[in-house]
Symmetry: C3
Subunit: 386 residues, 3 copies
């Protein structure tokens, strides 16, 4: 037992090296570089996207990492395990996504793959938020492997089979990660949650550390929602829409936090989390021609729903459904992710995008939530055997 974690970690790293040796190579489209063309070159595109990649990278490691430091006794575990899970997950994400998308050829590793690899780790980090303080490193390691495989499968289904659109991944990352984590948390509930309760408190300093995570996530969300968008108009819209959705969300989240909190005060959990819901909810529609004011409406709704979720749904989940959601990921990623999917259906109804159909968007939403719940339920028990 003492050596389970180190041996599994080493074994997985050896496995990753073998898989990369067999299936991965550098992107070779560089060799097609033609100096006389006036088109933008691959190299220039690399450098346009690299800053966006780094923004996403900061979100994954600083944003998610420090957001999970709010518990007084799990601060170091939060940011440490976050680093471990993401470092494992990005390697595994390259392999699982690469094999599905490369049609039997070698995986060509360039800027797009490493952005998508970072994305795939986000699903596990969101789920981690639901089980924080209740899992060991070895359980997180198993969850990382299983969840990213499920994510890659669902993402392939949504993007390639349904041909649905989900540029900011409201459905395929946020809703998926949240419902996967909730399903695991539901399974884990039976095996002695109560002993964790007395540590479920924050301190003044732990709340400030968590704000580092919040603020970096908030700042760089426009890059998350636009990193893999089509260059030009669509990518720029994704940035602008996310910028305004987040700004509007802050106002409604602060307002409702004050409304539902005793004495009209602001609740730190709401400030740390609900202010981000606008980034999640505008994700699916981010690159559509919806107008900035519609992005602000989406963000405003997400801020309200998220605060109300923290106030009323989370206690209800714990009491009635026996699902204990440590960070409240259902309110930050689950509900706003579903809002994102629904918003895209409304946008298509109103003729704002011809990229997908109502049926395909609905299928994508259903598939993301469904795969996540089934995947989480199947993953849960495997974690108790250890």
């Amino acid at each position: 037992m003492r050596f389970s974690f180190p041996l599994m970690a080493l074994g997985l790293e050896v496995g990753m090296i073998v898989l990369f040796g067999l299936f991965a190579e550098y992107e070779t489209s560089w060799y097609d570089y033609q100096p006389n063309t006036t088109q933008i070159t691959e190299s220039e595109r690399f450098f346009q996207l690299y800053p966006l990649f780094q923004d996403v990278h900061v979100m994954i490691f600083v944003g998610f990492g420090f957001l999970m430091t709010f518990l007084k006794k799990y601060g170091f575990s939060g940011v440490g395990i976050n680093l471990f899970v993401a470092a494992l997950g990005l390697q595994w994400g390259i392999i699982t996504q690469g094999i599905l998308h490369s049609h039997g050829e070698k995986i060509q590793i360039g800027i797009k793959n490493i952005i998508n690899a970072d994305f795939s780790t986000a699903t596990v980090l969101i789920s981690f938020g639901a089980v924080l303080g209740k899992t060991s490193p070895i359980q997180m390691l198993i969850m990382t492997i299983l969840e990213i495989a499920a994510f890659a499968g669902n993402e392939y289904l949504v993007g390639e089979i349904f041909q649905a659109t989900d540029i900011g991944a409201s459905m395929t990352i946020h809703a998926f990660g949240a419902y996967f984590g909730l399903a695991v948390a539901g399974i884990l509930y039976r095996s002695g949650l109560r002993k964790g309760h007395r540590n479920e408190e924050s301190t003044y300093n732990s709340d400030l550390f968590a704000m580092i995570g919040t603020i970096f996530l908030w700042i760089f969300w426009p890059s998350f929602n636009s990193a893999i968008a089509e260059p030009g108009e669509e990518q720029n819209r994704a940035i602008v829409n996310t910028y305004f959705s987040l700004a509007a969300c802050v106002l409604t989240a602060f307002a409702f936090s004050s409304l539902v909190t005793h004495g009209g005060k602001l609740n730190m959990v709401h400030i740390q989390n609900a202010t981000l819901a606008g980034g999640v909810a505008v994700g699916t529609c981010a690159d559509m021609d919806i107008s900035p004011y519609v992005a602000m409406i989406i963000g405003s709704i997400a801020g309200v729903v998220s605060v109300l979720g923290y106030k009323f749904l989370t206690p209800c989940f714990a009491a009635k459904l026996r699902i204990h959601d440590t960070c409240g990921v259902h309110n930050l990623h689950g509900l706003p992710g579903v809002i994102g999917g629904l918003a895209s259906i409304v946008a298509i109804v109103m003729g704002k995008s011809k990229k997908s159909t109502i049926a395909m968007q609905a299928a994508a939403l259903g598939s993301s939530v469904g795969t996540a719940i089934v995947g989480g339920i199947l993953t849960g028990p495997s974690r108790e055997r250890i």
Copy 2:
């Protein structure tokens, strides 16, 4: 009273959505994209500026936010209210600046607007530093609306009417924000400042949190001073000059901090603030052909003046002028902003720039300080009624 803040916040957000619905649309210059031109395209320019925008974004939300966590009891308020004020301010900044600059047409929202929107929030965040710990969220909300309107008016006057140059906004943002805040602080003084005194202390951890703000502001200041500069030579000079001005400022600020502190020790307030004065002071001249060594002279002077201000002026302001400046914004933004304006006059005298005249620069400086003081005095009383 209990519902004043949430209802005002919600009302303002609804108002913003209506204003954006009526007056704002995506930038449409994308449609003019010509694939065969060798000129740099709008889309490429977007991606050149996007990283600079994100640097400014980090300064606004992480830099200003964490700089205000140094008080042991206002850490969470500092960073939380900073987020709220900036999220409101950037929406309002788009509208006020947009209406002034778009000559009756719809506001075309692209990368330049969102950079300028972030800039406009900086004025309020600077003023917030002067009144930190003495205001309620609702007072900050009112100040945000009034100050950004005044800022947009003054900025239009300086840039369009006077045709003055102020690329890093030493005068229009830094001096303006500081003197506006000081005027408000002067008005507020009468209504019971003393009760705030016992909490005016920092702790070891709160000082380290504040250093997060300091360091991110210091790092990204070259992006602040260059983000809206002319592409090419001027933009690059703005980056290089700011880089060296800040480096020189650190040396003189440390030296004078040791000189004026008991026992030759370093004073944490000086390290957190005066090291940034070089970024403020070089702002107006940043894109001029002044030579790197002149940028270093400007930074060196700013570091000295800022430390001396903290040591001698701030206590004097509190005792004699009855103006209590919590963060010492006069020393970080006020005096260095004035130095920036004066430096631009010297630079024009010495033939380093033909973009403006001595008279116009003097008018810009006078207008920025004057509008700020009048605006602050008029804003102050409105805040006591609540």
Copy 3:
């Protein structure tokens, strides 16, 4: 004595201003800009590199700065002195490197110089880690001047005379900085180390502050290793290789931390430091065509070696060699830097790069370690006189 530090700092800043006035000017290649060329312009290249520069800038000031906050009583000194040393060092780095490389002409200051200036400060900040808590600001000031001069000399020897390749500076920065610092620490040992011992502890919060440094270093390391690489294929490989080397390193560092720690727990010192060794070790080979899986092997080895170094070598150094290495820079920068140099020799043997020869790489490694040790020994005594 009371005025030694401020007077020396002011004197140095005046000296820098004079040197910049005499020897530095803005880069003038802008004037060669030809609007009709289809080649990428200097201005576009500036903007491709500026985000990478800012990533490196964050590593220097946030990464190194906060990594040194882990000691409970030196947190503020760590990040404060880091800022001072880097601000002085970058000015001095421009001058020393510029004079060596500009062949008697004026130093043309552009994006490459400021990247290299930041790099040169990294050597001193690494050495600072070996002597943290044992030196005064004035000692750091002297070390900055002497070490950067030695670094510039060695870097010229390695790059221009040997024509060796070291794109991520495993040898010229990391190994150099570590062995320089160890040599100084060895000299300083005699003059009363023991009084510092009781403060050599971390607290829960100081460990979290240090993680801010770790995570930002980890995130932006691909930019460090690629910032001065050849545009196109090589620069992209440098990014991709570093990304995977770091990810692999995290897994082996966590695994071995658990293996060598009592009860299979994770050791915070290992998480804070050894997870970064992969970035150091892949540096020299980063732009070579080594395949991603080889980068992962290099990172895996570095993670193992670094943890074993912390566990077994550091205590041995203190006890047997009388070298007290506060942050364990030997394990994070020294050994992984040497691994980087050796890896490049293996890569050349295997035909992965034709840029250099085995002999020249070996000479570069020997020169970097040798110059550092001699330089450190010569610098050490000068620091005791104060």
